[in-house]
Assembly symmetry: none
């Protein structure tokens, strides 16, 4: 007599750190625990996951830890099973596209991690295949649901900022090299041959943040650098860093908005958070971190006068005010999962699809091209 | 029987704000008050100024205010007077080069404000003329004597930072447009036709800061923008802004150091000072403002872990410590004046000469060229 | 099919406070709980302890408390049992050497508390016996793994301090005499006839800290004192204190480094911790406590001027900054136990052996000799 | 009809920094300004100074600055003038003894800076000469009148501390070498050939502080060191440091009190003041700085337990309480001057005489002897 909707979800590649914590434990398991995604007073969408991977020992352990009863090491068989309508992919970047293609061929709706493919052409192909098959599809764009960025979005919706013309992004922190203090990121991030590099990692994120919060990206100027030439790997061996650990990037957006970003794993942080985005507009400015957001309206803007003879009389943090928690902020991954499940179950719109995923791949590609050419590169609209 | 050295100084164009306050009142007048520049237990260099300009009323008023007894509206006559051996120029940019040439022709040692000319060729010509005439010459590069930058220089001398690889500069503040709150800068800054624009204004400064503190600038990528299209001038008339009010610039320095700067008169400030320069090195980082400077050594570098699920547990300002005042910091302009007077009187070295001034003009020119070409532009060594 | 390595460990004398808490509960039991010492993705060293002592009631209680199933009051039988390859000794100082000799004779690897013997000759003999028998051996030098001292070691590895020339150690606190407030240390500490005295207790520690963090100790000047002449013992009887409760010690290290220590159970503490070690170097200084560590670099060194006429204008705590937790700090005893087990199982190096233990005994002996002779005494290299 | 007593004071060598500021401006001039030293409701002792030196220009300038009308470059004539009954000496250490002898021969009462001579024999001779001539004599021992030490003396007088057994002194700060930051002390301090060295400078002070506040010094163990081998002098030349810049000293006092001091111009300060003296007694402890003083009574003594497993739960600064200003603290030099003038005028006792001065010289000599012999050296009672 239940009115609940049960949706089978194949979760491939969730034994990795991100897959386990964010997608399985903090999203799907939490949604199950709360009784599903509520769609009316007495109806819920309830995900029914099966974990898929290659190592049955790890899968078994993860089933125990998460309370999910089902797992399989045989992707083909599971894809052929009609009780599962969604295929989720958090596997290694290098094998993602082929897995997604199999799932499309099997008629599954698609949800997957970024980058969706290792090049733009293949990323677009995934979009076309899914569209032609009439399937629903989505790509993880979690940072849009960070509390700091939700607060920023609300400010833009209120028109707090007026006409926006400038965005300044600072991202990064110090990743220890490992010669004394042990490093806090995996070593493959610093090797090109293992798909490492901060441009590939971060430009996907900046694409959807810029496109969705401000305006379409139309051009990019990017300079990469490998500031730390040698690091120590997980087994204590010194290796040469072949991938960029720092990127200095400028984006042009529609309407003449400029976004100026630096991203680095070789910088020390003197600012509000690991990621801060300052937005300057005619009526006001905002600075968003991961969780918090500060504003300065025209009416609170101080009037500095350049006088190097005296100590700075103005405290430039004092005229900003923090945005309070005006709503509940769920885990960013879970928030997007709930929207995706509604999209599949209820036909609600879900703009963060494989085309958007392809745009992220495109921007990373264009960034690398700009670095190589030492010039601005246009970011053309993808012709679908 | 006095052992003091008296040097006549022609001060042209000091009725303007900068000339009056920094060069006359806080430099020359203060040096006279303190008994001159001390060069040994009982010897002093004492400047003997004459104010030169076009408006005798203003000059007379300034003489009264400063206690300087002499002024003239006739530059030629004063240049012909042998009791004056130094010509100082703080006149309008457009007429500076021709005035300096006259002074060189008259055999005066040269000291002048920046930019030394409106184009690189002319700026280099000034250098060559002064050199060929065997005269001493200098250009104001005051920011090198800001306490914050002196502290930064000391840190580099101590090798606090280790190998430096990245410099991030944030400069700017909100200059009111004038529609409600009156503006705090003159309107010509926002008109190209009046030699306005932030690129021309600020790249001269970045050149000597980068060249003298870190390493030679070898390439530039620059994007200008006019984010505020209309402002109100001193007489209350609305005008179209034709000059850039914001610049997004990346510099390449010798040794692969990257300097990433943004400069804007249309931004709100959430940082330690109107100008902050963060320097990242292998062993430590520093952030310098105009007066203060903060450090974070490798040994004090926190270990952030990316966990968007919890509020940021680290206060990213807490692991920095302010550099104390380890020495006396004089007014930046006065400090350079004293060194210039010693250079003239005692043959002490003075590296901030007309060639350095020409390099500042060159960098501004190359920045504008990069903006036009939408590409990186090499900053060639000036062939002298 | 298990790849794990199981090592039998005889734990003698762990019914005492230190043995129970640090060696059994916080080290061996914790290592077992965590699944052993991880040596690769799927291999672990798992200690298999048996508790040995004289009081079966206490042993039984400790087995229950710790979850260790085995105990014995018959050391000889256990030593003859081949399933145990390690002998650990935390018994009374007076009987340690003879127990260790029996264990060496039985072919066990040795790990023991300090002091390893009551005189240097015997401590050296233990080293020779173990070496000649081809056995592995180690001595507890736990303070090297205190977080504060690990942080200090990292600073030295980074070369934060530059050339080090001076070390100032303050150790101690007020141990109540017992006439009103009950004392917080056992009374034998204050009786020479029971091997008490702060010189014998602490100079062992200073030896390995100085030798391993800075440079070899080459000479010592030591003055002991019994500042509190009478105390009350555990049964409420007043007794005469015959052992030193305070030591004023200066050490000379290789390279001309001076270490100036005071240690007292009759002092009140106005400093950061019960033990603080200040290290002064050309480039910076550090003050380490047990857990925390503070730094002051050359660039943050204030410029005091002696002016007794005004209140001190500088806060001399303000220009120091605390070192953040850059890595995980395990219990100091457990950390050394894990390294010792790896040493036995994997042949990894372990420099904290019976020779190092003998050096600690030697320094205490030389300190007492210096006190008696009222002169500096050389600390000769031990001839092995 | 005035009842005031006017006393002529010859002030020799007050053109130096200490003489000018402390003895002339802040002592004698202030005493004159306040109407003299009040000895009853309507009687005052009024000093009548004459400045003596070699450089008439400097003397003239100092007369103008201080308002003292008289000066002379002819010491002999002034000594022969009967209107002056006191001879004060703040001249260079090397010439002090011979000047004082002349003054004694001329029948003047003596007051002088420390050290009174360059060796003990001569210092004692001065004492004997003055005594035999029936003259009054005194030596500057200003630190006894520092507010922090007055507060400490009051605590001892109240018997706050009970039986005192231990004194720990920390003195010093970082004196910049001059290679980057300019130094804040004169360079002769670091050259033996110019009577530099911290042992000679500071042991004179420790002698009168220990003798007068606690008990007679009976033995000394002293180790000097030159931790900074090269510095830059006033004219920018690098020189080799030949004098000790650091001293590690232990004193034995009557009654078994131990005083453990370190003094350094090459240390960074993490404590309450540039000089701190901790005194431990049976009933309580005190820590005195230059101006402030903190106490911890038995009843406020915390009970630390050694537990390295947890972060230090006790804040070891929290259980100390600052001594309030219970009386007025005048400038330390002026306070002693007033007592000396009363001694001369009113026959009041004045224990800080040339014999005490000789004891200071003696202790510095014995400290150097201990360093040379690497042993404790007895500080014999001076046989007068």
């Amino acid at each position: 007599m239940s009115m609940n909707m049960r949706i089978g979800v194949i979760m491939n590649g969730v034994t990795g750190r991100m897959g386990t914590h964010q997608h399985l434990l903090r999203s799907i398991v939490e949604i199950i625990k709360q009784g599903g995604v509520k769609i009316s007073a007495d109806r819920f969408i309830i995900p029914d996951p099966i974990l898929v991977g290659r190592d049955s020992g790890k899968l078994q352990a993860l089933c125990q830890r998460s309370g999910v009863p089902k797992y399989s090491t045989d992707l083909e068989t599971v894809l052929a099973d009609e009780q599962y309508s969604i295929y989720f992919d958090a596997s290694m970047t290098g094998v993602r596209a082929q897995n997604v293609k199999k799932a499309i061929a099997a008629g599954k709706h698609i949800y997957c991690e970024k980058p969706t493919a290792t090049n733009t052409a293949e990323a677009i192909e995934l979009y076309r295949l899914a569209e032609n098959a009439g399937l629903k599809h989505g790509v993880v764009q979690d940072k849009l649901w960070l509390p700091g960025l939700i607060k920023l979005r609300r400010l833009i919706e209120y028109d707090f900022l007026g006409r926006i013309f400038s965005i300044k992004g600072d991202f990064g922190y110090w990743v220890f090299e490992g010669f004394t203090v042990p490093p806090q990121r995996p070593s493959w991030n610093y090797r090109k041959q293992d798909d490492g590099g901060i441009i590939v990692d971060m430009l996907c994120h900046w694409r959807y943040i810029l496109d969705h919060l401000f305006a379409k990206v139309v051009a990019v100027s990017c300079l990469g650098a490998t500031h730390i030439p040698r690091r120590m790997d997980e087994s204590g061996r010194v290796f040469d860093c072949t991938a960029d650990d720092t990127a200095y990037v400028t984006f042009e957006l529609q309407g003449g908005i400029i976004a100026h970003f630096n991203c680095s794993w070789a910088t020390r942080v003197r600012r509000d958070d690991l990621l801060t985005i300052q937005v300057d507009g005619e009526k006001g400015s905002a600075v968003a971190g991961l969780h918090k957001c500060w504003t300065q309206h025209y009416g609170n803007t101080p009037r500095p006068v350049w006088n190097p003879d005296i100590e700075q009389p103005i405290n430039y943090f004092a005229d900003w005010i923090e945005v309070p928690d005006q709503e509940f902020y769920d885990n960013a991954f879970k928030a997007q999962w709930e929207l995706y499940l509604r999209h599949v179950a209820l036909e609600e719109s879900f703009p963060w699809n494989l085309l958007e995923g392809a745009k992220g791949v495109q921007l990373a590609e264009k960034g690398l091209e700009s670095w190589r050419k030492r010039a601005w590169v246009a970011v053309d609209e993808i012709d679908v």
